[in-house]
Structure formats: C-alpha cells, structure tokens
C-alpha cells in the first residue's frame, strides 16, 4: 500500500510474520464470523422454480417481451410464465478449464436471455439467512433489527433477516462505511416507487448473482446523480435478497449533504481499500469503471461505453479473488440527456463537471429531476477473471486486456437489449 512519506523502513509495516492483510476484515474475529460459504469459482447459480408468491404485491420483473404492458400493474403476477426453467443457464461448464482458452468463453454466452428466462423474482428460502442470526447482537442492533422488521411488515418489504446479517460485534456489515439501516428502511418505499412505477425496472438474469460469496458487479454509468447505483442495489436487495455495496465516485462522497446521504443509503466511497475490505467479508460490490466520464457522456453517445478507467476493478478482482458479473443498465442513460459539459464553469465552481441538459441549469435543482425512461437491468453470467490470480494484477497488459473483455461483454449486453426495446419510454 501507500508508502510513508517519511521513508520506507520496515518498521512501518510492523512485525512481518503477523502482518495482517490490509484488506482483511474487521476488528472482531469472532467465532461467528461466516466462513466463506462457497468458493468464488462456484458455478453460476442455477435457476430454480419460483415458489408461489406469498405476497401478491411483489413485483415480478416484467418479462422481456418488448410490448410488455405489464409495467403498469406490478401486482398481477405475470411471473407465472416461469414454469420453464431455463435450461441454458443451468449446468454451465466451469470456465476453469484452461485459463488460456476459457478466457474468451464467458463472453460467448451473452446475457440477455430474452424471452421469459429473465424472470427472477424468486422468493428466497430462509436458508439465505446468514448463520449468525443466532449470535447475540448488542442491544442497539437488536433494537433496530426489531424496528426494521416491524416496519417492513408495514411496507411490505422483504424479511429483514434474509437480507442482512448481524456481525458478532452487533454492528451490521456496511455500518462501518456509513450505511444506515434505519434510513435505508425508510427510503425503501421511495426507492420502490421509482423502481416499480417511475422507471419500471425489469431485471434479467438475477440468477447469475452468486447466492453467497463475493462478486464484483460491473456496470455502465450514467446520470448526474447516481440513480443507477440506487436502482441496481435496490434490485439486488429486492430480487436476490442480498446486500450489495455500490462504490461511488470520490466526488459524491465528500459533496455536502449528498455524500452523507448516499453513504447512509449504502454507497461506499470507491477506493481499493474499501472494496477489498468488503470483498474480504464476502460481500458484493458494484462498480462503475467509467466514472465521471460516463456521467458527462453526451446524450448522442449514450450506451457507448467510455474507457474503463485504468482497470482498477480488474486488479480488485484479481487481488480479492472475486468474479466479475457484467451488468447492463438500459434506460439509465436517458434520464439526464446531457448536451454538453461546461468544463470551464465547473472548474470555477470547484465541481468535477457541470452538465448542460435541456432542463438542468435552466430550472435550477429541479432540472436534475430524472426523466422517466423504462429501465432494464441485465445481470450477465459471471466472468471468472480472478482465475489468473493476484500476481496478474501487476501485469498492465493483462489487466488492460481483461478490462476490455469485460467492457466488450457489457457493451454487447447493452446493444442486444437496445436492439430489442421498442421505445425508450415504455
């Protein structure tokens, strides 16, 4: 990691024998710490038949039929179509075989599995509940846990126990990064509104997310405010019943008001240390390697991926031994039609960018209101770039190549979805 400016003597790094990995998780190595449940190389989860929904209100992600009117009425469980378990994604050869050949393999099986298969609103059996629910949590934790379960009954959200695990020290994962379970719980109905009615998010390929274990979700970025982070994390929490921690640009994290708010909603400042630490706890992180370049992309270039940074996410996967899950978010790039980025003005104001949209500076903050495009979020099949091992992280050519592979895969998923949608508004 970083070298001290004061010189680089071995003292700094402490006793060598016991030096902890920097990314290693938290202070408490309590007994109840979850074992890594499945190796990151596990096969992609196979789809299981959805159990009958208990909650009619639960929105089932619209099937991909382009015409789908289903959007308006989430309550009609259109989901039923699910009877046909997809065969395609079931037993998939483990791309472990030979690193050389398999590398190209994953991209082959592209994501958007069109009709019907994308169904995903599974009800998760309680087994997902993390083992440590039996741990005696500190009282504060118990408080919010019970508060939360009360609330969620009212709101109709998922069972809280499914989603979040309490750590032995009574704090939940994520709280140490600023996550506020209470506020998130309160915000859930609002997010839900945007998710179901405003952007009518359809989700495809949710079964590609690992049920346990670490993963790095990589997506295309757009929107002056990180609506895509919020929607994808909402989708994952809702459909896959797992936590996910979107990483946000530095810029947001120390922007007044916005930064604290986003971090309370579960966004984590993007840096290797934070991401490695989360992955070491077998969490999922969501990254947008395009960064700010993605945000200020002019409208005419929408859905053309920008350069993927310097491959930080690839290094992250290699070092932390996590697979990549490519995520294509279609719809998000229409919420803020950016006409230009006023770089000079931005510099004067001390902002990283100053976008010009048909509404933005014109209507003031109101101009940042997102347009109601129709969103589809597609989770592709895992790409096991971590098979090359941590030593590849130092090889810039390899990192670059892997980065481009992931980018190509996401681009392909986006293009496929765009080709199929009839209108960007419905």
């Amino acid at each position: 990691m970083a070298k001290s400016v004061l010189g680089n003597d071995p003292f700094l790094s402490g006793p060598a024998e016991k030096k902890p990995a920097t990314g290693k998780s938290g202070k408490t190595k309590g007994a109840a710490k979850p074992k890594k449940a499945s190796t990151p190389k596990a096969k992609p989860v196979t789809v299981e038949k959805p159990k009958p929904k208990t909650k009619p209100a639960k929105k089932t992600t619209a099937k991909a039929s382009k015409v789908s009117k289903t959007v308006k009425a989430p309550s009609k469980s259109k989901a039923v179509s699910k009877a046909k378990p997809k065969t395609a994604a079931g037993p998939k050869a483990k791309p472990k075989a030979s690193p050389k050949t398999s590398r190209k393999k994953t991209p082959k099986k592209t994501a958007p599995r069109q009709s019907g298969t994308g169904k995903s609103a599974r009800v998760q059996p309680a087994s997902v509940a993390q083992p440590e629910s039996n741990v005696q949590p500190a009282e504060g934790a118990a408080e919010w846990a019970s508060a939360r379960s009360k609330r969620s009954l009212a709101i109709g959200g998922g069972d809280p126990k499914l989603i979040r695990r309490l750590r032995p020290d009574g704090f939940t994962v994520g709280q140490e990064y600023g996550y506020d379970p209470e506020l998130s719980q309160r915000a859930e109905s609002l997010l839900s509104f945007f998710y179901r009615f405003y952007w009518r998010v359809s989700v495809k390929g949710i079964e590609n997310l690992p049920k346990t274990g670490r993963a790095v979700l990589v997506g295309n970025h757009a929107g002056i405010l990180p609506f895509d982070s919020l929607m994808v994390s909402h989708a994952v929490r809702r459909e896959a019943k797992r936590d996910i921690w979107p990483l946000m640009e530095d810029y947001y994290s120390y922007f007044p008001v916005l930064g604290p708010l986003l971090s309370r909603l579960g966004l984590v400042r993007a840096c290797q240390e934070n991401a490695q630490r989360l992955l070491a706890e077998d969490q999922q992180v969501l990254v947008f390697p395009e960064g700010i370049k993605g945000i200020v992309k002019p409208y005419r270039n929408r859905y053309r991926l920008e350069r993927f940074g310097r491959g930080g996410f690839v290094k992250l996967c290699l070092v932390s031994d996590a697979p990549v899950i490519p995520v294509a978010i279609v719809g998000s790039e229409e919420v803020h039609p950016i006409m230009a980025n006023l770089g000079g003005l931005a510099k004067t104001l001390g902002l990283p960018f100053f976008p010009l949209t048909p509404l933005f500076p014109l209507l003031g903050p109101l101009g940042l209101a997102p347009l109601p495009s129709k969103w589809t979020v597609i989770f592709g099949e895992p790409m096991y770039i971590n098979q090359f091992g941590p030593e590849a992280a130092g090889d810039r050519t390899a990192v670059n190549r892997l980065s481009n592979q992931v980018k190509g895969q996401i681009q392909k998923m986006i293009d496929m979805e765009i080709g199929q949608r009839s209108s960007r508004w419905r």
């Binding site: 990691m1 070298k3 004061l6 202070k27 408490t28």
Partner: protein, 328 residues
C-alpha cells in the same frame, strides 16, 4: 539497585495525565512490574509503594543528563512515552518543545541508559482527516501528509524520532500506539469537550463517521503494550463507528449546524478569545473521516476492545450527570 531481572522497571513520562494515571494504576497491580518511575512536571495524584516520582522538566536543556542518570540509577528497562498535548494547547511553542524536543531529549537518555523497550503514544489524528481517506486507515497509511495541521505535525515528528531511534538501536523494542479519541470519566480531549458542550458545531452537509475508545480499553491496551513484547505501530481503537451527529445526540448535546464559511471564522474568533477549545485548523476532523483500523492490534497484540463507542459515550454522560456538570 538490585532488581529481580524477570520483573520490569517501567518509567513513564506524562505521568500526571489521565493515561499516565490509568496506566500506573494497572501497573501497580501487575506482578511483573517491580517499580514505576513517574516523570512529570506535575505530581501525579496516584500514590503507591512501587511508585517513585521525579519532577523533571523535559524541555530544559539539562533534562537529558538528568533523566539518563535517573534511568541508570533506577535500572529502568521499559519506558513509556505518554507525554502528549491531548488538549490542543494554545501555546504552540511549548507544545512543540515538549513533544518534539522533549522526545529528542528523552530518547537520547534512553539510549544512554540502555533502555530495552520504548512505547510511545501517538494518535490516529496524524493520518489527517481527508476526503480521500478510505473507510479504515491502516497503520501503513501515510502520515503527515500535506494539509496536516500544526497540531499533528509535532506528533508526526515524534514518530519520526521513534523510528530513527529504532534504526539506531536494533536491539531495543519500539512500539508506537496510535489511539483514537478516548472517552471516560478522566479522559480529556478536544473532541469530548466539543461533544459534551452545550452546543456542538457541525458543518452543514457533513457528517463523518467517528470512532471512540473507552478509557478502560485504552488503559488496558497501554498496559498490554508496555508489559508485552511486541513491536511496531498499532492503531488502538474502540469497537464500532458512529456518525458525528449521532455522537452529539448520544452525548446529550445539541448540534449547531453552520455552513463552513461561518464555522471557520466563528471558531477561530472564539479560540483566540479563549472561549472555545478547538482551533479552526482542526475543524477538518469534524468534516472528513479519519477512522482507523484496529485489526493489527487484535491480531498481533490480541487487544480487542470490550466497549463500543455507544457505551463510551453513555459512560461519560453518566459520569458528568453525577458530577452535576453541564451538557444535560
């Protein structure tokens, strides 16, 4: 003096501050410690048969010879350097003399007296509160970066001298403990004085995560550090983190939210009028995160804090209520 060689003779500077007293109380009960040599300019309240007190002004030019002779006479083998301007002193010169020059003197004395173990107190504040900090700062994170204020600069200098001492004396075991803000019935620091004041300032739109250590945990950590054998740098932090606004609420105070443009001039005015205990250059600590990671201490020192930050705050609040102090 003849001393049982299996038992240690511990000398400590800063003996009259809360950490010195807390540590001495624990050492007094520890069999492995034969004698405690307290060095300070003020006499500590704590008294014990094992304890000898010497009044030494470390900023004085002759202090090195004095201390060196004293160490040799007493047979000191372990030295805890706890001198620390834990409240932000208005007298920068004195603080600098004490922390930077005083350290220089005393380390010279240590090397002359052949002290085999040195434990120094530092603080997690030397990482600096910066927008670019990761959620958890490890011991490997660079310290003394640009933008660090003068208050931490002396601590950085002190650590630098410690490292140099270690290079020059490979046989000696050197340990630096960087502790976070401690809370408890005796702890004093600028952050607790803010939190437990009637009005606590907060930057508009900023609400960083903070961490606190209960002073019982702090004393225990130093006790383990002084009597143990490990060396290196360790963050000594409490369990859990909480947001600044939560901390204010838990402490029973009322937050005063001010935009940065007002907050800075207001605090520097109050600071220079001696109405307020925090200088404006330190306000970054209320704006950006500087939470440190205690994993290494848990793994190497086996130090796991027993109290979390909420308990620490509650404790202080209770104690203050008993004493009838403000803030309620």
């Amino acid at each position: 003096m003849a001393v049982d060689p299996t038992r240690r003779v511990v000398a400590l500077t800063g003996a009259s501050n809360y950490l010195g007293q807390g540590l001495m109380r624990r050492l007094a009960d520890d069999e492995r410690c034969a004698r405690i040599v307290a060095i300070d300019i003020n006499k500590p309240e704590f008294e014990h048969p094992k304890l000898v007190y010497y009044k030494v002004d470390l900023t004085g030019p002759a202090s090195q010879q004095v201390v060196s002779r004293l160490f040799q006479n007493e047979g000191v083998d372990t030295f805890a350097h706890l001198i620390f301007t834990y409240t932000l002193s208005r007298n920068r010169t004195l603080a600098h003399e004490l922390e930077a020059i005083g350290t220089l003197h005393i380390l010279d004395a240590c090397s002359e007296a052949g002290v085999s173990r040195v434990v120094a107190r530092s603080t997690t504040a030397i990482y600096g509160a910066r927008p670019g900090n990761p959620a958890f700062l490890t011991e490997d994170h660079p310290v003394g970066q640009r933008g660090a204020d003068t208050f931490t600069a002396d601590k950085v200098e002190m650590e630098r001298q410690m490292r140099q001492f270690r290079r020059e004396h490979p046989a000696a075991k050197v340990m630096i403990l960087r502790d976070c803000t401690s809370l408890g019935s005796t702890s004093m620091n600028y952050l607790s004085s803010i939190l437990f004041a009637r009005h606590s300032p907060r930057f508009f739109g900023h609400d960083p995560l903070m961490q606190f250590i209960h002073e019982d945990d702090l004393f225990r950590a130093y006790h383990m550090g002084v009597m143990g054998d490990a060396e290196g740098i360790f963050n000594i932090v409490g369990k859990g983190v909480l947001r600044y606004s939560e901390a204010i609420e838990r402490a029973g105070g009322r937050e005063r939210i001010l935009p940065g443009v007002f907050l800075k001039p207001v605090t520097s005015l109050l600071w220079s009028l001696k109405l307020y205990d925090i200088p404006s250059s330190y306000l970054g600590h209320l704006k950006y995160p500087w939470v440190a990671d205690g994993t290494r201490a848990a793994q190497v020192l086996d130090f796991v804090p027993a109290h979390d930050c909420f308990e620490a705050l509650d404790d202080v609040r209770r104690v203050r209520a008993q004493r009838g102090m403000g803030g309620e």
